[in-house]
Symmetry: C2
Subunit: 242 residues, 2 copies
DNA sequence: CAGAACTGTGTATCGGATACGCAATTGAGT
DNA sequence: ACTCAATTGCGTATCCGATACACAGTTCTG
């Protein structure tokens, strides 16, 4: 599903200018019939409904009733539109994070909200995969909330940073794995996997044993929890034994 | 950098057949001038040298001295070629994992090898992002090695599974973040980030404090270690307090 | 030896991103 | 008000990647 073709490199400078609304308003010329915000909102709606692949410049423009090239009056290219889509979809974490008592409760709440966000807009994962994260307002708000929750733990600045990154990584990785779990062809995949294991499982004894013991059966409970609990236990251990 | 355009859905059945070499050999017709293996090797070489975006059917074919369409005699489509590239690049973990003493040493060794692999072939991250993992021989070998290392820990099957997924997630997420760290435009990005924070940092007090305390300064040591140590501490805690 | 099963190739189609130039619109300075 | 430069939306054209299709040559099977 990935392609590279006719795409310019992204222009972080331009994205940042757009993200922080630091553009000079043009003084002359026709009134723009759109705004960057409306375009972004339209693009996000498409991505939410049909996935990121459905977001083409043509499609976004058509939904807004303009031609493709009109969009280029608002963004240098698709990369910048995507950057704005991401920050827009991120939104800001709720107050519940700051109101939680103690670093562990705060981080847990933060992680749950982040998790819900990625489950709601799974295309964010694709849009931000393998590219440097841009410092948009909402991106920074999430980061700030996590660091704020972690502050009372008494870790060094570097440890705080690493901790947040570790938790984000867990959330993103899990969200990525679970995107497919709800999908249609799921039965088919499981059936094929079963066949493969039946035919070749003997070459992988530990794996075969784990499967026989039900390691791959769906087990109840939020899948986020196992990893999150382990990580937070590890952080707690670090705090107690620096 | 992502595109969806003229791409068929991938055919897991076909990929699995290719991955496990379960194809019947044709009895009649001209000798094939290529093999699936050679095509995959060529494609991997391109991806290693120039990134996954450089791997187009045209490019792979040209490098092998055939026309684009010739490749379609070996793979139903690009998706299947990509699946094979991934399993091929994965290789198998070394013996050092199985020889390690204790689950923690084994998992640590496993994680280091996995990490090195992703650092060597970062395009694997892109190729496997947001898609269900196919059960190729090497994929299963890695999984088997991890489960084998974890076996003496005495966790339940489900916990073993979740643990391995947690560690893979950490490795992949970190590898993804660090892909850019070595790149050229890095200075530029940091400069831009600095400017943004100077202008808007006051809105994010915890973040500003962390930065002031040097949280984002590069610190020595393998970046894999912090998260890995925390996770393994968490697992150890789970083992001690089930 | 005929014909079926295959192979590599040439050609064509279908998107997608985006460069370029035009005509209509509108505010600033006269 | 009037002129013009700045700016907008638009039509058109280009480039590129994936892949469908049909053809001609190749090689076993019966």
């Amino acid at each position: 599903m990935s392609k590279a073709s006719r795409e310019k490199k992204r222009d972080p400078k331009a994205s940042l200018t757009l993200l922080w609304g630091e553009q000079e308003q043009p003084r002359r010329g026709p009134k723009p019939s759109l705004t960057a915000e409306r375009i972004v909102a339209g693009a996000v709606a498409i991505a939410d409904a049909e996935g990121l692949d459905a977001v083409s410049m043509q499609r976004v423009a058509a939904d807004l009733g303009v031609t493709t090239m009109a969009l280029y009056r608002y963004f240098p290219g698709k990369a910048e539109l995507t950057d704005l889509m991401v920050d827009s979809a991120l939104g800001v974490p709720s107050e519940a994070v700051a109101e939680a008592h103690g670093w562990r409760a705060g981080l847990t709440e933060w992680a749950r909200q982040c998790w819900a966000l990625y489950r709601r807009h799974p295309w964010i994962l694709t849009a931000t995969a393998m590219r440097r994260q841009l410092m948009g307002p909402n991106q920074l708000a999430w980061l700030d909330a996590a660091l704020n929750a972690l502050a009372p733990a008494g870790l060094t600045a570097a440890q705080q940073h690493d901790t947040v990154l570790l938790i984000i990584g867990h959330i993103r990785s899990l969200a990525q794995q679970l995107v497919h779990a709800d999908e249609e062809g799921n039965e088919e995949w499981n059936r094929l996997a079963g066949e493969v294991l039946e035919r070749h499982g003997h070459r992988f004894p530990a794996l075969a044993a784990a499967i026989a013991a039900g390691a791959f059966d769906p087990h109840g409970g939020d899948p986020l929890d196992f990893g999150l609990d382990r990580i937070l236990d590890g952080i707690a251990h670090l705090i107690d034994h620096p």
